[in-house]
Symmetry: C2
Subunit: 312 residues, 2 copies
């Protein structure tokens, strides 16, 4: 982080102070009677959030997917998505139709709908999605709750979206590019993990595994040891970019939208029945460590972080 | 509307078709068990939505106020506001502090909070607010429901925000400018009107009275006759801009954030006990009419409407 800008996390801390505290979870949690309402909002811009090669249908898909991933991370079931879209003057009807089809298709794929929104004109395409969901009060999963001795787990494979970004930038054809452009949030998995009652803390890894671990550690006041050789590296990634770069993508590249979570040891079988998962490490007292061949080294919380605001 | 752009309402119709129908209310309504959850989202941009003279605190206030006005229009009680903010690189800490103080102050003034959100960097300041609220199922108010013979009513005074815009553009000092820059949504009034059980349809007049009546008429499949001399013109407006311009501001200028609603005739006393209101006309079979001295003329649905999308 350079000296004259606030990083996203530092800015959020400052804003949180002004607003009297904002809970650090993938969604906010609101009492809705028998259940909790969970809600999340995410603003995406053409230049900073959508790779150049993305078509408008994929932009729509992405804008819904990033929000549904936050619903998944709470163990909740989606109840609808609101979309505020700032459309550029050069957007023609093809663009508008494709964009909104992508929005609707992603919602439908995950059993929900675009239920409302707002349209506005804007020089640069800007889409703010807000996803709503419900979860039983005794099933909600948060970033806090991990305890020393819990197992650290991840759904799916890691590094694929990072590989897609690399392949696109290098002009290499690769299925990873589709992974990057059409992410698939883990809603069924999040829900099943919540129902397993074996999970103690959860979040998505949308900004990369290392940053997710840093956030989980901070909120749960614990540390993690990651077993390097246990990491579920996306199949074919090492072959494409080499061992070292693949490792870096697994830890620091954003865009995978897998779930990272902790499981109480006696609950591992229940969690495994809920969904495919990999045990990648365990919860320790403090620090974030990578272990290989019995040796531990500290991991920096490096990942995808927007820089915001000038402060000269 | 010129030939090569889609107006906001036309665009919304097209999007609604793609998405399989979106209910035309100030908020979407979601079953939350005992009550309804209502939700609304609104995207605001520095250039198109915030007058140049606005200070950052007022931008924050405005971004929350426009969303809370939609909560008010459903008869609901706010349960929290999410804010996605795209902050320009030149935003210094003073700007950020003031902006977020304005956001928080408006929410607190109406008994709610900024409960979460997202920050991003963006060339032009962009704020998307999403307000959530709850309302008892038998009290929710919608745009549909007005019946022939119902009385047409408005809270507060009309045209003040239009007067503020005029005064600012003319370089005239006026309290109306504050009305424009610091709107006060009618949350207590909306809630009390819902509890009166006398109201049959409601919406806010944020885009001007004429457009609100056009929307209410379309959704309720009715018409309106407005008594010109009954309109609650903001005090001092005629003196500042003259009779004709004042009339135009009352009908077509956005920004007042009053509630426009219909009351069953036998419920008028109950509605009057709920809050200060003015009966401005009545519900008829079709058309939107202005009546003065026994003569009726048709009103065009003219108001503040964004133009979006190119279609050559």
């Amino acid at each position: 982080m350079s000296g004259n800008v606030l990083g996203e996390r530092e800015l959020i801390r400052r804003i949180s102070e002004i607003l009297g505290g904002v809970e650090n979870d993938d969604c906010v949690v609101i009492d809705a009677g028998e259940r909790y309402l969970v809600a999340t909002t995410d603003m995406l811009h053409r230049k900073t959030d959508f790779p150049d090669i993305m078509n408008p249908w994929q932009m729509g898909w992405m804008a819904v997917a990033v929000n549904l991933s936050d619903i998944a991370a709470m163990g909740a079931k989606p109840a609808g998505v609101l979309i505020a879209a700032g459309l550029p003057p050069q957007a023609d009807l093809y663009f508008i139709d494709e964009l909104f089809s992508g929005l609707g298709d992603c919602a439908a794929y995950y059993g929900t709908r675009i239920i409302g929104g707002d349209t506005d004109s804007h020089q640069e395409l800007t889409i703010t999605g807000t996803a709503l969901g419900f979860v039983e009060k005794d099933l909600v999963l948060r970033r806090r709750g991990a305890r020393v001795g819990d197992l650290l787990c991840s759904t799916g494979a890691l590094g694929g979206a990072g590989g897609g970004l690399w392949a696109w930038q290098q002009g290499v054809e690769s299925d990873f590019i589709t992974r990057l452009l059409e992410p698939e949030p883990r809603l069924a998995e999040g829900r099943a993990l919540a129902q397993s009652r074996a999970v103690t803390a959860m979040m998505d890894n949308s900004d990369g595994l290392a940053l997710s671990l840093s956030d989980l550690a901070e909120v749960s006041r614990v540390g993690f040891v990651v077993q390097e050789e246990a990491l579920p590296v996306a199949a074919g990634l090492v072959e494409m970019v080499g061992q070292e770069k693949a490792q870096e993508m697994v830890m620091s590249a954003g865009g995978d939208f897998e779930l990272v979570f902790t499981v109480r040891p006696e609950g591992l079988e229940a969690a495994q029945r809920a969904c495919g998962l990999t045990v990648i490490g365990e919860v320790v007292e403090e620090g974030i460590w990578m272990e290989k061949g019995g040796e531990r080294r500290r991991v920096e919380a490096k990942g995808y972080e927007h820089k915001i605001g000038g402060m000269d």
